[in-house]
Symmetry: C2
């Protein structure tokens, strides 16, 4: 008997018939004697519908009330799945975030889980219940409803798997695993049977839509065995996300990620003295804006140019903050650009192989693609390009690193 | 400065534009210096849409999960109104049932309010916030979401008004007050400026759709000043619901109510011994079925026939219970009939005027309408007729009691 946490995304619960299918899949696991916790997203399209209602009222709706609003989406699906499970003769009980409770901080729209009380769930599981949990939501210390941000249901699933010390956390989605890159852009993209947590982390954070980044962080931190599977087929083992030491094969590059959700902020002519980065990024963090890439170049006359990327939705807010910062630190100019895309190559094998960066830049240069920003880590290299070149860049890199071929083992 | 509780029904919040109108109305009261608590229903049609989803999964959906599902409707509207109020520059904060909390018993789908903690609301009001509360919902001692049953938002509003000792509880709806009967059936129906609580109670319980019965009971018990108004016009004072002693005019009959939501259960040939009514109604109550009219007639051979009405939706369940009861008490037969309608005349003046019943029965006889059941109280007389005669009966009675004329004062 194992304890399994299963998470189903919006398309998997997008219609009554699909909710029934999920119930039947859960029933199969239950019949095998497993304890099952199910985490659900809202029906596909529902969160967007609710946000559109809010934006009809106010283009920049109140964050607290937005969470009250959008958290209803998951509350609907958990009730419906619990009904469907009972209709199959199983015992089942739904839980909203506050009912468990899943305690978070108070950062509305992008809260972080602080604590999960597993007592009620544990008691239900021990009494044979299927536990159905609303993903994406929690409650703060003031009893306000919070949400974890887009894709937060993955995080809920992994956090629950960690809290309950589950044997496996299965993320059901509309794709059958993790690919070397998006098959819609590169038809030769290949499904990976295994991928390391670190690679998955970089792929997720770089825009691969399969798993939400925070869920991968959580899984790595708490050693949760994570598997990505398709909810539309019973075949295949999906992609298992392993710890590096377990992994036999070590290709140089595992995958290519892209992301068109970011925008670039640049502050020019910053007097170059200690603490200037903190002076710029401090107010940005205070405004609850997440920063991704950061690049600083020394400029002329003892000044420096400072560039970073934020989510496209945060660009206006970030520029407003920078306008104030500019005056306070005596910088020259603030610029924003949302016509950018980020393309990254990811692989743990990169650590031990020289020349990966050079191969990447050559491949892009051969297509006449200009690089606006470059950022590297131990297992990834990211470049920012004009967004119209994004697909071309992904294809060129997929071919250059021969990702369509099953890799030879790395000695 | 007064503390006002305002309740807006589903049609008043049925679209973004209407939610904006509600926000503007609330703002007017706030500008006059009043403290305002707003109680909202779900957008019109939403509760039915959610119930239809549930019934697609299971014709008889799990009651606990049904409440998890349908309570999302009000959660959506409170968030949207709070956003709209903030958009107008007001301070506002939404509350679900569990956030206040509004404590209820555990009778899912028809829970009763047991206690309201007014501390959080009071603090918000004192700090100038408009408080926006989800109607219709609460939370039981096990932290399960409960709903109060159809029309429960009225009850929420009155209960809050009582808990906060509000100066007035205003029920905004799509009609501009309480009428002598439904104007769709009798075009001459007249709006009442005042009506007593007792009359309103009888009118509400008998099917007048303006106010939910439990809200009127609550208002009477806690002496809440209640007013019914239209949310679609700024004109008119609506109908004030008064305590009898305040009322100057005392017409014999105030209004005519009707109800087509009931069904009749009859158990024939019951051995006539003490306790038999309890033996029949006990199991019905245990099955959480509410009974309205009860009539018992002595029959032949020391037996009695026992008839009562229940909500139409409960008929099947009631007949199932009676089939068991029949065998245990040695009765002969059980019958059900859902082709009935109840028509009632209501008026506090009835107490001091003889001949009201006889006038009613004459008017119906003149139209050849057969009476299946009769039940009377101090201020109402109800008859059950075949449902196809319902409109005819209402019109005949409206005319017989001259309800289209403004009444002379009752000496």
């Amino acid at each position: 008997m194992a304890l399994i946490v299963q998470k189903y995304g919006g398309t998997s619960v997008g219609a009554i018939e699909r909710i029934r299918n999920v119930a039947e899949r859960v029933a199969k696991f239950k019949m095998l004697g497993h304890q099952v916790v199910v985490v659900l997203s809202a029906m596909s399209g529902e969160t967007n519908r609710l946000i559109a209602l809010a934006k009809e009222i106010d283009k920049d709706p109140d964050p607290r009330e937005l969470d009250v609003l959008v958290s209803t989406g998951e509350q609907v699906t958990i009730a419906l799945l619990a009904m469907a499970l009972k209709d199959l003769g199983l015992k089942a009980r739904s839980y909203t975030g506050w009912q468990i409770p899943i305690r978070t901080d108070s950062a509305f729209n992008k809260a972080r889980i602080e604590d999960i009380d597993d007592r009620a769930l544990r008691a239900d599981l021990d009494s044979g219940q299927v536990v159905v949990v609303a993903g994406f939501q929690g409650v703060d210390s003031g009893n306000n409803i919070t949400t974890l941000g887009r894709g937060g249901s993955d995080t809920t699933a992994v956090a629950l798997a960690a809290a309950l010390r589950a044997d496996e956390c299965q993320i059901y989605t509309d794709v059958d695993g993790v690919y070397t890159t998006d098959p819609r852009i590169v038809p030769e993209a290949r499904k990976l049977d295994v991928i390391t947590f670190e690679e998955m982390l970089e792929l997720a954070s770089l825009g691969s839509k399969v798993l939400q980044i925070r869920s991968v962080e959580f899984a790595g931190k708490y050693k949760v065995k994570l598997r990505v599977l398709s909810s539309f087929t019973d075949e295949g083992e999906g992609t298992l996300i392993t710890f590096e030491e377990d992994s036999m094969e070590q290709p140089i590059i595992s995958g290519i990620a892209y992301n068109r959700d970011e925008a670039k902020c640049t502050i020019l002519g910053v007097p170059d003295r200690p603490g200037v980065a903190a002076n710029i990024l401090g107010p940005i963090a205070d405004a609850d804006i997440e920063v991704d890439m950061i690049v600083q170049n020394v400029g002329a006359n003892n000044t420096t140019d400072f560039t970073f990327t934020v989510h496209r939705n945060d660009l206006k807010k970030a520029l407003d903050v920078l306008d104030v910062v500019k005056d306070s630190i005596g910088a020259r100019e603030v610029m924003g650009d949302d016509k950018i895309a980020k393309v990254s190559i990811v692989g743990v094998g990169m650590r031990t192989h020289a020349g990966v960066a050079s191969k990447m830049f050559h491949a892009l240069a051969a297509e006449n693609i200009n690089l606006r920003m470059i950022s590297t880590s131990e297992i990834k290299i990211s470049v920012v390009v004009e967004d119209k070149y994004m697909e071309l860049a992904v294809r060129a890199l997929h071919q250059a690193f021969e990702l369509d071929r099953i890799p030879a083992l790395d000695a």
